[in-house]
């Protein structure tokens, strides 16, 4: 049997997912444009007073990050479920735990990571104090990782259902809430001149836990979904 070693296999999976996400060059721009537009909605909706916007910028940026994660989590496994790729993945000799991690990593690179990289730009758009920008980027980097992992659990549990779309939000939004609290807390602390380190440490701990546990839950969810 010409079985691939697990790291090589996961590398190929990651590449596959990234290529699928970015088949056309124009698509790298789409998520970013999407963030920019959604963030632009807030001044329009809340009123453009610069000082209030700046105060609420951490919350706004975090809520948008969370929603965009919610949006893209739903699709992580869906097309693979529908075209039979997921069956093949379950039958693969490599442990599903690591394959699940590769899927989530790809999704994170295309959403959370990109957003974290570009968050300084959006922060400036909302008038956030420059002192808080490193905390913002760091909290997004750590926090969106947790979001993607938790979102993966929801996606795995609902992918086999005929109507998963709304359900996944119901399942995972409660689990997103602590991340939102600590994430926007970190930025608010930095804004207030305090250290963001404790918040980032908590986000880091949550990420470690999520990396360790979520793939197992995702794997269990996928097996259940394919069975249905």
């Amino acid at each position: 049997m010409n079985t691939l070693s697990t790291p090589v296999f996961c590398g190929l999976l990651l590449r596959r997912q990234l290529v699928l996400g970015l088949r056309k060059p124009i698509e790298i721009g789409n998520p970013l444009l999407f963030f920019a537009m959604v963030i632009a909605l807030f001044p329009l909706g809340l009123g453009p007073a610069p000082d209030t916007l700046a105060v609420f910028a951490p919350g706004i940026l975090w809520i948008v990050a969370l929603l965009s994660n919610l949006l893209s989590s739903d699709g992580v496994f869906r097309s693979d479920f529908e075209d039979g790729s997921l069956e093949q993945l379950l039958l693969a000799p490599q442990p599903l735990y690591f394959s699940a991690l590769a899927y989530v990593l790809a999704q994170w690179l295309l959403t959370g990571f990109l957003l974290a990289l570009l968050s300084p730009l959006f922060a400036v758009m909302l008038g956030l104090d420059a002192a808080a920008i490193p905390a913002l980027a760091a909290s997004l980097l750590l926090g969106t990782g947790v979001l993607s992992l938790v979102g993966g659990i929801g996606a795995a549990l609902t992918v086999g259902l005929q109507r998963g779309g709304m359900l996944i939000s119901l399942l995972i939004l409660p689990f997103y809430m602590p991340v939102l609290i600590f994430g926007s807390g970190a930025v608010q602390a930095a804004l207030a001149g305090a250290s963001a380190a404790p918040y980032l440490a908590i986000l880091g701990a949550m990420l470690c836990m999520a990396v360790a546990l979520a793939p197992a839950a995702i794997a269990a969810g996928l097996r259940i979904s394919v069975d249905a």
Partner: protein
């Protein structure tokens, strides 16, 4: 290579089959027969290990297997070559030349680099069937492999099955057509549970 004892399955309040026992040996082709809705796909998924709840009986898998189901597992956004090179089945690691050869063998010469979603229905399925030329798994579980394939393609496929059986492989397939291979061919009738 595969042994199953006393399998029974009930779905949607109907007993699909019961008391199915089955032994697939090297060099042997077993065709599962039954009307639409008889439970062929369900049985194949149990044998492959994809269904784990809701049936009774034992399955012992003694050899690595290749499962091709109703769905083609071909990504429309990837080209046929990419589809085979990065296949999620984990049993890859073929060189580019091997993949091109396999694609040529299923009649996709010249289509290696077009996005798969522009292929016709039969060509789409052929991308998946190319895995029969790449896999080294001795046991093949194929669910209606001839669907949407033209006559020439069916003959080529039968040749490939015969070749695999000749090399000591085994094939378990479902099909509504008769399969012509110069090898021992047994058929399992789901309605009666008899293997002939």
């Amino acid at each position: 290579m595969l042994e199953a004892d006393d399998l029974a399955l009930e779905r949607g309040g109907r007993q699909l089959f019961s008391a199915i026992s089955l032994r697939v040996n090297a060099g042997e082709l077993v065709q599962i027969e039954g009307a639409n809705g008889a439970g062929k796909t369900s049985l194949l998924r149990i044998l492959a290990g994809l269904s784990r709840y809701g049936f009774s009986g034992q399955v012992r898998r003694r050899a690595p297997q290749l499962f091709l189901g109703h769905h083609s597992a071909v990504k429309g956004l990837l080209t046929p070559r990419e589809n085979l090179a990065w296949h999620v089945s984990g049993e890859a690691g073929n060189s580019g030349a091997e993949i091109d050869q396999a694609l040529a063998a299923v009649g996709l010469y010249g289509y290696e680099d077009v996005p798969s979603h522009t292929l016709s229905a039969g060509q789409h399925r052929r991308v998946n069937l190319a895995r029969l030329y790449l896999s080294r798994a001795p046991l093949w579980l194929l669910d209606e492999p001839f669907t949407a394939i033209d006559r020439v393609g069916v003959t080529a496929l039968e040749t490939r099955l015969a070749e695999h059986l000749g090399e000591g492989g085994a094939v378990l397939l479902t099909s509504h057509q008769t399969v012509a291979v110069p090898h021992p061919l047994r058929s399992l009738d789901l309605a009666t549970g008899l293997l002939t």
